[in-house]
């Protein structure tokens, strides 16, 4: 009898949507890491265990606490833009739009923020705004094409990713170092364009790249959560996403919402780029011939986060954690892209999450019925 009761409790525990999402995400992570480990074993069995531990440990590889903190800072610096891209994709997904163009919106944001910083010499807050607007404009193009001309947002998004890349390469060619393909350093050209740290750097062993961009990204995630679950706008966005026709019937301006959503999504991705490039952590290479992966990794983070802004905070950190961890591998034995490999396996597995939940729920229902039947 007691055992029976416990089973009942367990069932109702697993029937909670949040618990199901977290379980599913954890399963994806475990399987993803396992497949990554198998790949490492195939490449070179001798160091594979150590390699996967290196990836998972990331900055914990450093024995001194100070060094570990410093490199935790580095991971966070890159997790912030990733979170922004993930939020961009997620916000659009709520409205039924797959914003794969986040990658291009991110590129646009990078181009605008760096050009405003290096070309015009403007302070950081203006540069951030420029990134937001540039990303937003890229989003709006996708939105208009979708709303008025029925163009699939995935395909137009991809096209704009490439258009964005070449445009930004051209634009930033004007503010690059003479002897390298990289843009000028912010610290020496225009220090006022660097996002302030407000003392945060001290928490991370004086890692100068740690800025208020990191807490800002988290705050933005929370704001989005509030918008989606508590506001009239969120109500409309989600209704448009789940039931476009019902939204139209109820008098919502569906086209306006599509465009507005993509503007916000684009703005978020653009901001993400500013959050990285305005720390000085990276410089843009004007000869790069592929679209930065940040926007695509955002897809992994958003689905792993169970399509919830708060979940995405953790998922973004995790994805960046293993990506950074990959860079500690011995390059002459294991390619660092093994981290990308693991994150893409995780995205693929996320495709099965719905089925997993459905399976879980039908098992729970079947279990319940069996029990009820037994009681009769």
């Amino acid at each position: 009898m007691a055992g029976n009761n416990r089973k009942m409790e367990k069932e109702s525990f697993f029937s909670k949507p949040a618990v199901q999402s977290i379980t599913a995400s954890l399963l994806c992570i475990v399987i993803g890491l396992l497949i990554g480990y198998i790949a490492l074993l195939i490449i070179n069995p001798v160091g594979a265990t150590e390699a996967i531990i290196t990836i998972i440990k990331n900055y914990f590889t450093y024995p001194s606490k100070a060094a570990a903190l410093k490199y935790l800072g580095n991971t966070l610096v890159k997790a912030a833009p990733l979170l922004m891209c993930a939020l961009s994709i997620q916000f659009c997904y709520q409205a039924g739009l797959f914003n794969i163009g986040a990658a291009g919106q991110y590129v646009a944001g990078a181009g605008a923020s760096l050009y405003f910083a290096l070309g015009f010499g403007l302070p950081w807050y203006i540069c951030i705004l420029a990134a937001l607007v540039a990303g937003g404009i890229f989003g709006i193009i996708v939105g208009i094409l979708k709303a008025y001309l029925n163009v699939n947002e995935v395909i137009s998004g991809i096209m704009l990713n490439w258009i964005g890349l070449y445009t930004v390469n051209m634009l930033l060619g004007g503010v690059k170092e003479v002897s390298s393909p990289y843009t000028l350093s912010l610290a020496s050209t225009n220090p006022s364009a660097i996002i302030p740290s407000l003392g945060l750097e001290k928490l991370f062993s004086n890692n100068k790249y740690v800025t208020i961009a990191i807490p800002l990204a988290v705050i933005i995630a929370i704001i989005l959560k509030v918008i989606l679950s508590m506001t009239v706008f969120g109500y409309e966005i989600k209704a448009t996403g789940i039931a476009k026709d019902a939204a139209k019937y109820s008098g919502m301006k569906e086209k306006k919402n599509v465009i507005l959503t993509l503007f916000i999504g684009g703005g978020l991705a653009g901001l993400g780029a500013a959050f990285l490039f305005l720390t000085g952590y990276e410089q843009w290479s004007v000869t790069q011939s592929s679209v930065p992966g940040m926007g695509f990794n955002g897809i992994a983070a958003t689905f792993l986060g169970g399509l919830d802004p708060i979940g995405t905070i953790f998922a973004s950190y995790f994805i960046q954690h293993i990506t950074s961890g990959g860079s500690y591998l011995d390059k002459n034995v294991y390619p660092s892209q093994i981290s990308d490999f693991i994150s893409s396996i995780i995205i693929y597995l996320c495709g099965f999450v719905l089925f997993f939940k459905f399976f879980l729920n039908s098992r729970i229902r079947a279990g319940k019925e069996k029990k009820e039947g037994g009681n009769k």
Partner: protein, 313 residues
């Protein structure tokens, strides 16, 4: 001028193959956004074959072996899409995107591993195939005929015949238009959709190797295939899911892509002094414009993108 024609035909061949792949998949009811990734995998299989095959073998053997390995890699990789989207009803956009990323990552890892094994200091993701690549082309005057151009033409004709003249084509299209109707007359929708996706894997796999051997003799796999899989989707939409229209659309897109390779050879274009980035952007801008004009009245298969569930009728 000959060079422009040559590149136009080459890039058109790629687009024809991959767009036809998309066409088969979509006619069966599955949106295949993973074409890009499948191309990478096909390219990888073909490139590695070219790398290890003896250049002294007869050209026909080399061509056929490369075709075979590319096909095989493409088909095997597309199994991942079919499995998730057909049997597990996964979100087709999500899975397609995951496959694109996975292909780029996996190909890079594989190539790097091979390179490191050969020479621990070579950590690049580049495969070279200078010697055996010669087997793929026949020089006719200054025009370099590539056997893959013929393959694309055959694929185009075969696609037309299969879709419109055979039992298989009729059943395939029924599954993409109205799977419930197909099911009610005893057609196994899942089987047909698997077939559609695997054919798309085959064609996109071949498209991949054609793309990376067009004009270059080595490929850096970190770069993937630069959105060509998506250009092919644009070609497919512009061609309204019909093989012959796809052929024509591919020629148009192929021309603009070729232009970015050879514009410097034309004095009047070189004189304009337009940055190369502009030419690189061209195909994407054109496809965006074309999509804007053709998407409103699209004749896409009605049931595409909707997982088929036997239960819901």
């Amino acid at each position: 001028m000959v060079l422009l024609l040559q590149y136009t035909l080459l890039f058109s061949s790629v687009l024809i193959l991959v767009a036809l792949g998309g066409c088969f998949s979509e006619h069966s009811g599955v949106i295949n956004l993973g074409l890009e990734g499948i191309m990478v995998m096909g390219a990888l299989g073909g490139a590695l074959t070219l790398k290890v095959i003896s250049p002294t073998l007869p050209a026909i053997v080399i061509v056929l072996t490369v075709l075979l390995t590319s096909t095989l890699c493409g088909v095997l990789y597309s199994v991942l899409l079919a499995f998730a989207c057909i049997n597990f009803k996964a979100d087709q956009t999500l899975v397609g995107t995951a496959l694109n990323m996975l292909a780029a990552a996996a190909a890079t890892v594989i190539v790097k591993t091979i390179n490191i094994a050969e020479n621990p200091d070579n950590v690049s993701s580049t495969v070279q195939y200078v010697a055996s690549k010669k087997a793929l082309v026949v020089n006719i005057g200054s025009f370099q005929f590539n056997w893959f151009m013929l393959v694309a033409l055959i694929a185009l004709i075969a696609a037309y015949v299969i879709l419109y003249k055979t039992r298989f084509g009729l059943r395939l299209m029924a599954c993409g238009e109205h799977p419930q109707a197909a099911d009610s007359v005893g057609i196994n929708v899942y089987t047909m959709r698997w077939a559609g996706v695997l054919i798309s894997g085959m064609l996109a796999g071949i498209g991949g190797i054609v793309y990376i051997t067009a004009g270059v003799s080595e490929w850096k796999f970190e770069n993937g295939v630069a959105g060509f899989g998506f250009l092919a989707l644009a070609v497919m939409i512009f061609g309204q899911w019909k093989p012959l229209n796809i052929g024509l659309a591919a020629l148009l897109f192929g021309f603009f892509r070729a232009l970015s390779n050879v514009y410097s050879g034309f004095d009047f274009l070189a004189a304009l002094n337009i940055p190369s980035s502009v030419y690189n952007m061209m195909p994407y801008i054109i496809s965006l414009a074309v999509l804007a004009f053709t998407s409103a009245n699209s004749r896409a298969p009605k049931a595409e993108g909707i997982p088929y569930d036997k239960g819901s009728r």
